[in-house]
């Protein structure tokens, strides 16, 4: 319940969330609270609803919320269209970033930044300032200059696409980043680069939700909390050691305990 005397200070609060995809219930009473400054990892077997959660939060069409509520900085997140969610400071790092042929990478990024700045009453960033900013972040992500002139994800390798997602995140500086299996398909060097990018954005104001299969990523981005998602709800939460235990014992261990 909203209470004027005790305003919700959580960055993200998910309560009893149920969601369907193509008529099938995937999220089944999920609750989660993320405070500013925290990093949460959501782990779980294939089909447990991890990516669905990320998609529902970002507002992807085709996902129907049937029950529950989500507030973001105290606002009703689910009533906002996807672009408004992004402008409010929510970022989704895609599991499979799409290619948009002919649309320049930097052009898209600049349009995104300016759209978000406009919502916040800030002037458009000028071209020189913007390029300086992007170059600085690209350096951190070890991306080559040629990337500037390429089409959005056009012909990118899997690793390049993921690095591009993190680059976008660094430029847009969201309040909450939801990274959907950003580690999948990355070799160890790329994983370190991606992790360095994510860590560089950690601050007491921001938060991050990492959706991942493997605990490997968590060696580099140390989470405050780890949650295990099974059949659309969180069945177990703990600290970093939970991830290690999962790695050792497998999801059946938790699934069995949850049954």
């Amino acid at each position: 319940m909203e209470n004027m005397k005790n305003p919700d200070t959580a960055l993200l609060r998910i309560e009893n969330l149920h969601a369907k995809v193509a008529g099938k219930e995937i999220l089944n009473g999920l609750s989660l609270t993320v405070e500013r400054g925290e990093v949460h990892a959501i782990m779980g077997p294939n089909g447990s609803g991890k990516s669905t959660l990320a998609s529902v939060l970002a507002g992807r069409p085709g996902y129907e919320v049937t029950q529950g509520r989500v507030s973001f900085e105290g606002r009703d997140l689910l009533s906002l269209p996807p672009e408004e969610r992004a402008r409010a400071g929510l970022f989704l790092g895609f599991q499979y970033p799409v290619e948009i042929p002919g649309v320049n990478n930097v052009y898209l990024l600049k349009a995104a930044l300016n759209a978000q700045r406009k919502t916040r009453g800030l002037p458009e960033v000028d071209a020189f300032e913007f390029l300086t900013l992007v170059r600085e972040k690209m350096k951190l992500m070890r991306m080559e200059d040629s990337f500037l002139s390429r089409g959005v994800n056009e012909g990118f390798s899997g690793g390049e696409k993921k690095r591009n997602e993190i680059l976008q995140m660094l430029v847009l500086e969201p309040q909450l980043a939801i990274l959907d299996e950003t580690d999948s398909g990355l070799d160890i060097d790329a994983l370190k680069i991606v992790a360095a990018g994510v860590n560089s954005l950690r601050s007491p104001e921001r938060a991050c939700v990492l959706v991942t299969h493997y605990q490997r990523l968590l060696d580099y981005i140390v989470p405050d909390q780890v949650h295990v998602l099974i059949r659309g709800r969180i069945v177990k939460s703990g600290d970093k050691s939970l991830a290690l235990e999962l790695e050792r014992r497998g999801y059946d261990w938790v699934a069995g305990a949850a049954a």
Binding site: P81, E83, G102
Partner: protein
């Protein structure tokens, strides 16, 4: 469909429903010939324009031929019957004297019309470096920059003026690329053409500026039949821009133009069109029938003709800017973006006729369909027995928005020389929900996102347009197409 998807859909549909922005009518007294088509009308037109006998005769031959022809119906188009006897074949704005000698003498209402269209006359023209031969209905009313062009030896004037000042060039080249017997609409044009533009670039001259003509259909129930002839003499270069729009009316209007290009040895003609004729309303009422014959002949060795078109308007578009590659080593190019929305129909493409050795052609066609629009690419690549080692590359891509539109591709290939190579690539795609969502998830609005994706799709064509036109083309696309997902 979820609530959000429905909302997005509704939003996109409202974007698509955005109205035509050039639909105003200029009230001006016109000198209009009564509707009807016979030899007297043709003679009257010819007399009003003070034409020499050879031209009157040529028109009459065309008219006689026209009466032996039948309207073509092979295109993938649904056309309401046209009553050729109910059309008025000549409409000129009445001027107090013989005609305006300078811009000051031009009716201010006409100039205001150009202003609304954004035609850069006056100072803007000079700044933009664009010379405009503005065609208002049938008579050219203002031509700028003639002097500067004249200094370079370039002739750029209304067709009717060229008939008087350069009759020998007209007699030599008129109908030499598109003969009066060519096709139904070209034949009609040959009989009744009113005015248009004439360009001659002398040997070795690089035209000092982009040449531009703005066409506009104004009077009610008048067909517009321009005739444009561009001759690039040996070693010359010219870039010609054509922009079109027409007021909003319930009736369909016929526009049957003919454009002939001739490139001699080593000459290069770049012809760009941004066509934004009134497309009719959302229910398909009204709009321009755009039946145009455009053909260029690379007559000389190593000559080159390049057509770039962005077609966003017209109820029906029927045109195939083509190249006849006669000169050895000559090059023909066709870059096209054709968009249809609401009930618009387009059947467009090109013909590349390879005659000479080592001739090359490139075709890049981007078709975008939305609403109930039907978009057809129709292209012919013909390699004649003489076309030794000729090459063609064709790429046809279609983009669909929503589930009620259509895209069709009819590539025809005829190869009579086994050393010739023909390559064809084709694709049909939808603006994917994934692409759209990707942009939305970055905070970019639906309108801007679709615009961005479509522009990306058209990039390989837009980059062929002169800079100032590329911007206009992008804006036009934005107006006519923003939005829509499958």
């Amino acid at each position: 469909m979820s609530e959000e998807t429905r909302q997005t859909q509704a939003e996109l549909e409202s974007l698509l429903a955005r109205g035509y922005q050039h639909g105003f009518v200029t009230e001006i007294e016109s000198d209009t010939v009564p509707p009807g088509l016979d030899e007297d009308v043709v003679r009257l037109i010819s007399r009003k324009k003070g034409e020499p006998a050879f031209l009157t005769e040529w028109r009459l031959k065309a008219l006689r031929h026209f009466f032996t022809m039948a309207e073509p119906h092979w295109a993938h188009l649904k056309i309401a019957p046209i009553d050729y006897q109910s059309i008025s074949y000549y409409s000129a704005p009445k001027t107090k004297k013989d005609g305006p000698k300078s811009l000051e003498e031009v009716d201010p209402k006409l100039l205001a019309t150009y202003e609304k269209l954004g035609v850069p006359l006056h100072e803007r023209a000079r700044l933009a470096g664009v010379a405009v031969d503005a065609v208002f209905d049938s008579v050219s009313v203002a031509t700028t920059f003639k002097e500067k062009l004249a200094a370079a030896g370039v002739v750029f004037c209304p067709f009717s003026e060229a008939v008087r000042s350069h009759p020998e060039l007209i007699e030599q080249y008129l109908g030499s690329v598109v003969p009066y017997t060519d096709n139904y609409f070209a034949t009609l044009n040959s009989a009744v053409f009113s005015d248009g533009s004439f360009v001659y670039i002398p040997k070795g001259v690089r035209c000092p500026m982009e040449l531009s003509t703005y066409f506009r259909i104004n009077a009610l129930n008048t067909g517009q039949f321009e005739r444009t002839l561009i001759i690039a003499d040996a070693g010359s270069y010219v870039s010609y821009l054509e922009g079109c729009s027409a007021p909003q009316r319930d009736e369909n209007q016929l526009h049957a133009a003919v454009v002939e290009l001739v490139a001699l040895d080593d000459a290069y003609i770049k012809y760009s069109t941004v066509q934004n004729w009134y497309p009719g309303d959302a229910d398909g009422k009204g709009g321009i029938y755009n039946f145009v014959t455009k053909r260029g002949e690379c007559r000389g060795r190593n000559s080159r003709i390049s057509w770039t078109q962005v077609e966003t308007g017209s109820a029906i578009t029927w045109k195939y800017p083509s190249c006849v590659l006669k000169g050895d080593g000559s090059i023909g190019e066709f870059y096209s973006v054709a968009t249809v929305n609401n009930h618009q129909q387009a059947d467009t493409g090109t013909k590349m006729i390879h005659v000479g050795r080592d001739t090359r052609s490139t075709i890049v066609s981007k078709g975008i369909s939305a609403g109930h629009g039907q978009n057809t690419y129709r292209g012919l690549v013909r390699m004649l027995p003489s076309a030794q080692a000729a090459r063609n590359f064709t790429q046809c891509d279609s983009l669909l928005m929503g589930g009620k539109c259509g895209a069709h591709t009819f590539p025809y290939v005829e190869v009579k020389n086994e050393t010739a190579t023909v390559e064809h690539e084709a694709s049909t795609s939808k603006i994917s929900e994934d692409q759209l969502f990707y942009c939305l998830a970055r905070g970019i609005g639906a309108e801007d996102a679709v615009n961005m994706i479509v522009s990306g799709f058209c990039k390989s064509v837009f980059k062929e347009l002169p800079m100032e036109f590329a911007v206009e083309a992008q804006n036009l696309l934005a107006v006519s197409l923003e939005g829509a997902v499958g």
